[in-house]
């Protein structure tokens, strides 16, 4: 990048429609695409943009996220003075640990912001999956003399808004300056959908966060951005590649299934902007003579004796002889015994599927079985 920046990731705003999938973990720790966690995407995007210092704000249920991140080594973020910083709650007297919005989360992380040596801050969430290099956005930010630049992508006019995940749309002028902001509109003609990722100079960020918080306003888009549209130059930059949203169980299912399309995989897992994740010392996947796999993504350490079609198998999944898995997502260490049948299901980590059992969901309503459950 042409200017040095540090990063802030806020992976754990609540998305209630993800139901069982986020019962024991934050959204950032949600397994995705056969071997990743959602936070791998913003983290890798930052690392690929030469950002060497990243703070991850956590507030609740962050145990599995911490396990995953470790020292940050998997992302090359374990430097001596820089690297990965986990910004836990309870670090300030007035911080109760549950944030009323991103502004409050940022305010409780201002110590990290103040200490950062870099001039610019890149902020990103983990509520959608995309591969993006911030270098071009930084160039745009400088050239357009912006105070804040917000990343967005274009959606169709019939895009359905999910109120519980706080969807934000921008109205843009011809030179891409944000004129107005709509939050959770029931009817809108706007198609510039916010990815809730920003570039902002460090001192401006500190001032705006303090100012907003002092007024008792805690929302980033609704308050901090919207209040300053006239006073500051707030610009928008378009990400033209694939975006997979994580709003609900259905969108989680659709996003994973989209990865079965080679074009989507090419966009998400580019050679030059790789997605890094914590590596496991896992054995290659093993196929038996009776295996029959079609149109699927299979991670290491899977043992396949049965048939798998149009599905995603995470690490260490066992599909027994005569078992049929179709249109399903099986998270790590799921055991599907002989003769079982699964269709349109999402089985969380370590679920056991008994011999000859059947579990059939619907394309528009996949069944979720929570961590360690039995079918």
């Amino acid at each position: 990048m042409i200017r040095e920046a540090f990063g802030i990731i806020y992976p754990d705003l609540e998305i209630p429609n993800l139901r069982e999938l986020v019962e024991e973990r934050t959204v950032g720790a949600l397994p995705i695409g056969g071997k990743y966690r959602t936070i791998d995407f913003p983290l890798s995007n930052m690392v690929n943009s030469d950002i060497r210092s990243v703070g991850v704000i956590v507030s609740r249920k962050y145990n599995s996220l911490m396990d995953h991140l470790g020292s940050g080594k998997a992302w090359d973020l374990s430097g001596k003075n820089e690297g990965l910083f986990i910004l836990t709650p309870y670090s300030l007297r007035e911080n109760p640990g549950v944030y009323r919005g991103m502004v409050e989360a940022l305010r409780s992380s201002l110590n990290f912001v103040r200490k950062a040596r870099q001039e610019y801050c890149v902020i990103a969430g983990a509520m959608s999956i995309y591969n993006f290099n911030y270098s071009s956005m930084m160039r745009f930010h400088l050239e357009s003399e912006a105070d804040i630049t917000a990343l967005y992508h274009e959606v169709d006019t019939d895009y359905s808004v999910d109120e519980q995940s706080l969807e934000v749309f921008f109205e843009l002028s011809d030179d891409a300056r944000i004129r107005s902001i709509e939050v959770n509109p029931t009817l809108t003609t706007l198609t510039a959908h916010s990815l809730k990722s920003y570039i902002i100079r460090k001192d401006i960020l500190i001032n705006l966060v303090e100012e907003c918080y002092a007024k008792g306003e805690y929302k980033f888009s609704e308050n901090l951005l919207r209040n300053n549209l006239d006073r500051l130059r707030i610009m928008a930059y378009e990400h033209k590649g694939y975006v997979g949203p994580l709003k609900s169980v259905q969108s989680y299912f659709d996003l994973n299934m989209a990865l079965l399309d080679p074009k989507v995989r090419e966009e998400l897992f580019q050679e030059k902007n790789r997605i890094f994740t914590k590596a496991k010392d896992s054995v290659p996947a093993k196929y038996y003579n009776s295996a029959d796999v079609k149109g699927s993504l299979i991670a290491n350490e899977c043992i396949i004796e049965g048939s798998v079609e149009n599905s995603i198998l995470f690490r260490n999944v066992h599909v027994g002889r005569g078992a049929k898995v179709k249109n399903s997502i099986l998270l790590p260490s799921v055991d599907v015994r002989e003769g079982a049948e699964l269709e349109y299901v999402i089985l969380d980590k370590g679920v056991n599927v008994k011999r000859k059992s059947r579990l059939i969901g619907n394309e528009n309503y996949p069944i979720v079985v929570g961590k360690g459950g039995t079918v």
Binding site: K35, P262, A291, L297
Partner: protein, 398 residues
């Protein structure tokens, strides 16, 4: 000053492995792939990590670049601890007397300075040529119990094959009373595994004596062990009962890979307590297309399979295009098998392209014991429609 280490391991990784032909044209034998995602050297390095040995000198010489890069700081094997580490030790010059390692013993001799930094009681000498899981702790405790000067790990082999190995004849207490290098009429079936535990002070004495002997080949098996035997040192054997495979030939490398595809493989790679560490490439899960067929195979992450794969092992990043068939073969990293090509009985090194419709090798004949295996060297391109006959080695000079 380094802190004292009870045991230091020295791994001989300089061998050319000339019997592996074109596979070792550009890299040392320990860097050769096995089991899809592993390299041969992962096994002794993982064994060290699990045996609580955190100081490992890796002596390289022949084509060391691939190996140096692969080992890095040793962090992949948990060897990058505060006081230990994996140290790559190429030959170096001292004043005007820089020399290549002239033999296995000379390689250790030239690194006496490195070893002395840790002031060890015991020195473990390992070779980077074998696939096995072994807890060196048991070897070392047997060594201490007997008060031995040297303890040689041995494995029982079928007596009819014993003449291929260094054979140890022992008494009931496993003290070595005689040994023979590749004997015509073996008296015992205990073969040396190339794994030695030494009392460091005793070994150092013999290494120095060996160095000034102009007739010596500076080799452990040929010179040091016989000299210690002649010097009436206490030499013991330590019998190991697990899987141990020398993958020094194309035939044995192919066999060792194929053994992993059997119903009950002789080496358990899934053992939670002894997981083999390796470098893990950052690849997405592998993809198997609608029209693909994969049976009895091991497939790594990053592969894309649109054709047919049977009885084969695919390393990370291999692409098998539509209509292509891969049977009874070992395909290494990032190799591409183009549409309608057929590959049988082959070991194909990294980054090879097998062109459209090419025919490589001949189908496996289960009745033949000596397999005619095609070997294709790293980075080669097989032209579309080209026919590569069974048993051929393909490299840049051929």
């Amino acid at each position: 000053m380094q802190s004292k280490k009870k045991t230091v391991a020295m791994l001989l990784a300089g061998g050319q492995g000339s019997r592996l032909g074109v596979l070792t044209a550009e890299k040392a034998k320990p860097a050769v792939s096995y089991g899809g995602k592993y390299r041969i050297i992962d096994f002794p390095l993982s064994n060290c990590a699990y045996s609580g040995i955190d100081t490992v000198g890796v002596m390289t010489q022949y084509r060391p670049l691939a190996l140096n890069t692969y080992i890095g700081t040793g962090s992949a094997w948990n060897l990058d601890t505060l006081s230990g580490g994996a140290y790559v030790l190429p030959p170096y010059s001292v004043g005007e007397s820089g020399e290549w390692y002239s033999g296995t013993a000379n390689a250790i001799y030239q690194n006496i300075g490195f070893i002395e930094q840790f002031n060890p009681d015991y020195l473990l000498v390992l070779s980077g040529d074998h696939i096995y899981k072994m807890n060196y702790k048991w070897l070392l405790s047997a060594h201490q119990e007997k008060g031995a000067a040297a303890t040689i790990a041995v494995i029982p082999v079928p007596i009819e094959e014993a003449s291929r190995f260094g054979i140890m004849n022992t008494d009931a207490d496993l003290r070595i009373i005689d040994f023979e290098e590749k004997p015509e009429n073996p008296k015992s079936n205990l073969a040396s595994m190339g794994v030695y535990a030494f009392d460091w002070k005793v070994l150092r004495k013999y290494l120095s004596a060996d160095d000034i002997n102009p007739d010596s080949d500076n080799d452990f098996g040929k010179n040091i062990i016989p000299a210690m035997f002649a010097g009436k040192e206490k030499l013991y054997a330590y019998e190991y009962g697990g899987y141990w495979k020398d993958v020094g030939t194309i035939q044995s490398l192919w066999e060792a890979n194929m053994e992993l595809l059997t119903e009950d493989p002789p080496i358990n790679l899934y053992d939670e307590g002894w997981r083999i560490f390796s470098r893990n490439p950052n690849d997405p899960p592998h993809f198997v297309d609608k029209g693909a067929r994969v049976t009895n195979s091991m497939i790594c992450e990053g592969c894309n399979i649109y054709g047919t794969v049977q009885n084969s092992l695919l390393s990370p990043g291999v692409v098998v295009e539509k209509g292509a068939v891969v049977r009874d073969s070992v395909i290494m990293d990032d190799t591409r098998i183009c549409a309608d090509a057929v590959v049988d009985m082959s070991i194909i090194d990294e980054e090879v392209t097998v062109g459209k419709g090419a025919l490589v090798g001949e189908p496996n004949d289960p009745d033949k014991s000596e397999k005619e295996i095609v070997v294709i060297a790293r980075g080669m391109e097989i032209a579309p429609g080209e026919i590569v006959p069974a048993g051929k080695e393909v490299c840049h000079d051929s």
